[in-house]
């Protein structure tokens, strides 16, 4: 990272604020894949994710005139996304409906995947997809707030500082939620390991 870190989206934001709708389109194209991962892993449902994403960008488009650049656009839009998703989930109550999407072929290139299958820990390929399914179930058992930090940290790869800004809680809170959530997930998967229900 040799460039200065001013907001890379600054130009597009300014153009959008000036009325250039095509600039906002570029932001939509850029952020949809990232926000998809974030929202989907919290809702575990493709249809809900799609609707939420549409609402998130609609809201962002309306609110962008008030965006003053005090944070980066990345943080701002993630904040909208997380908060709308949390609101949605909390109003809904706990859902246990999962939509299982196929793991993409690109997973084959992931070094972590190769390690997971090659390692001496007893995770064979057949087991791995079952394990993933159980992990999805375990994720849905977490509270929305815990699921949010797990998604942002482990799946989206965001640093604690960024998550803390987006959720507007202290970094200590982020860290201990992660720790607690990890433990819950571990317990659930251990249970599955000991009592596999086919």
């Amino acid at each position: 990272m040799d460039q200065p870190r001013t907001d890379p989206d600054q130009e597009l934001v300014k153009r959008t604020q000036a009325g250039d709708a095509a600039a906002f389109d570029e932001l939509v194209i850029k952020y949809t894949p990232r926000l998809y991962g974030l929202v989907y892993n919290m809702t575990s449902n493709h249809e809900d994710t799609n609707d939420l994403l549409q609402d998130i960008f609609a809201k962002a488009y309306k609110a962008i005139r008030g965006f003053q650049g005090k944070s980066s656009f990345y943080t701002w839009i993630h904040s909208i996304a997380v908060n709308m998703t949390l609101n949605f989930l909390k109003k809904r109550g706990r859902r246990f409906q999962l939509s299982l999407d196929d793991v993409d072929a690109s997973i084959q290139n992931d070094r972590e995947f190769m390690e997971a299958t090659a390692t001496s820990s007893p995770v064979r390929e057949a087991d791995l997809s079952e394990l993933q399914r159980r992990l999805n179930e375990a994720m849905m058992k977490l509270s929305e707030d815990h699921r949010a930090v797990v998604t942002m940290f482990h799946i989206q790869g965001m640093p604690h500082a960024e998550i803390s800004k987006i959720l507007r809680v202290s970094e200590g809170t982020v860290r201990s939620r992660l720790f607690y959530a990890n433990r819950q997930l571990q317990n659930y998967l251990d249970e599955f390991r000991k009592n596999p229900v086919s």
Binding site: G37, N50, F57, G69, H160, S164
Partner: protein
């Protein structure tokens, strides 16, 4: 039997990055977004639509052509400003899939209430007093072993080269 540790959980979670929507989803997303924007416009009264179009039209013109019609320009801009304000204050309408009732009705605060000072966004420097709930949570969690602290990344973080 092997137990899952933090690293294994982290690895499994990381694999979830590859869970993808159906093919073509992202390509269609933008079209869908435009369609919904148009839908929303169509729900507005016609007079409002016209003024919106006028507003967009004015923004698209360059300055020189505007100077020939100062009064008209002023009128349209004033109307456009009023309309913009109205639209901005409209309540959220959720369009969630049919299988579930509309859920989102609370506008979420975004840009205006963002409290980070301008311009840097370096992490805050904190001073802390003990939080009230500590005593209570310590009791409920007494049975569990303590969390032995050693993070995987340092907390010190500067997002920019502003100083």
């Amino acid at each position: 039997m092997d137990e899952f540790d933090d690293r294994e959980i982290a690895r499994l979670l990381r694999l979830k990055r590859y869970e993808q929507p159906p093919p073509g989803y992202f390509e269609n997303f933008l079209h869908e977004f435009h369609r919904r924007q148009r839908d929303e416009l169509l729900r507005q009264p016609i007079w409002r639509m016209c003024l919106e179009r006028a507003h967009a039209f004015m923004l698209g013109l360059d300055v020189r052509s505007l100077t020939s019609y100062p009064a008209a320009v002023a009128a349209v801009l004033v109307c456009a400003a009023v309309i913009s304000l109205k639209i901005y204050q409209q309540p959220e309408t959720a369009r969630v899939a049919l299988q579930s009732p509309p859920a989102i009705s609370t506008p979420v605060s975004a840009g205006e209430e963002w409290n980070l000072a301008s311009p840097p966004v370096a992490p805050p420097i904190l001073r802390m007093q003990p939080v009230r709930s500590f005593h209570e949570s310590a009791q409920t969690h007494r049975a569990a072993p303590p969390r032995y602290v050693l993070d995987s990344v340092p907390v010190s973080y500067e997002p920019t080269f502003r100083f």
